[in-house]
Amino acid sequence: MAEGQEHPLSVYFWIWGLLFIISAFSYAVDYFQFQGMLRWSLILIFMFLKAGLIVAIFMHMVWERMALAMAIIGPPVVLLFLIGLMAIEGDYTESTRLEYFGADAGVYAEPHSLAASEEHH
């Protein structure tokens, strides 16, 4: 190797093309209105594929030495805990809301006034 991350240009063109194609796929997921599990898994798969390609090739992670790669990929593992637990938490919060406040939550786009505010002087 001469100086740094030097790879044949064709690699980049390949990845470039792939990224376009995958993006088009994920766009198609919405365009054809897939729903439910299928939609979610497709979205996630395409997302991770794209992210993986960018990190691996464009950011040269596959060519980096393992010491660096691990140091960068390792720590985000703790985020998985955060994500998982916050998903459970969000669910729990919603369940108490539905149970005690009812499901008919309106949207208040504009400030709503209450009897109280007039009542009071």
Binding site: G4, Y12, W16, Y27, K50, F58, H60, R65, I83, T93
Partner: protein
């Protein structure tokens, strides 16, 4: 030259252990690159926290989430095409990532002119992206009446998170555009002829990261 530079490094798991056991330096990369990677790691945590917040609030609200793909549609010849603008923005950003990757490559080939040109192109794509984002924002705000504090379609957090996270991303892109332009100018001036062109790669890392974040935003905000 230092001993490490000439010595053949082992690869794989064995190299991994060796690297961590070595003296002087752990990663065989320039200081600036190591620092950029660590910074990006830290930045990953920022974006992740934003997205985790988004997930949690979206899951816990009792109010319907607005119909995303309708809101983000763009009329083409009368018919609304969902996510058209976003699709274009995605393509612009990916393209810029491609040109950036080429710039890095040209840099290491010491092709000053091409490197600088590609970087300027990248920056231009970045600027176009920001411009389109500004257009999208103004459309949402003016036409759809979506505000950070509320909207007519459903949960008010839709606008809050949307503007906050895309805004934060937009700031990253804008900083990236400036960063790219500055480095490109210096490349052109020949500042790195002696020092080497790692700086282009470091700038590139930042730029690809911005693209990376967009991949997640695209999936979680527009498609979900």
């Amino acid at each position: 030259m230092s001993s490490v530079a000439t010595q053949q490094l082992e690869t794989g798991a064995k190299g991994f252990v060796k690297d961590w056991e070595s003296d002087k330096q752990t990663f065989h990369v320039p200081w600036g690159k190591a620092m950029m990677w660590i910074f990006l790691l830290s930045d990953t945590f920022i974006f992740s926290c934003f997205l985790v917040g988004y997930m949690n609030v979206r899951m816990s609200t009792r109010v319907e989430w607005p119909p995303v793909s309708e809101i983000f549609s763009l009329s083409m010849g009368g018919a609304p095409i969902p996510l058209l603008l976003i699709a274009i923005m995605t393509f612009v950003l990916i393209t810029s990532s491609g040109t950036m990757a080429m710039a890095v490559n040209m840099g290491y080939r010491r092709d000053r002119a091409k490197t600088a040109a590609l970087m300027f192109i990248t920056a231009a794509f970045g600027a176009i992206f920001v411009g389109m984002q500004a257009f999208e924002w103004s459309k949402l705000i003016i036409e759809e009446g979506i505000r950070p504090w509320g909207n007519d379609f459903g949960a008010p957090q839709f606008g809050s998170f949307f503007f906050m996270i895309t805004g934060f991303h937009g700031i990253h892109v804008s900083i990236g555009v400036i960063y790219l332009a500055v480095v490109a100018l210096k490349v052109l001036r020949g500042d790195y002829e002696k020092k080497g062109y790692e700086i282009v790669e470091i700038t590139g890392l930042y730029w690809h990261f911005v693209d990376l974040v967009w991949v997640f935003i695209f999936a979680f905000f527009y498609l979900w």
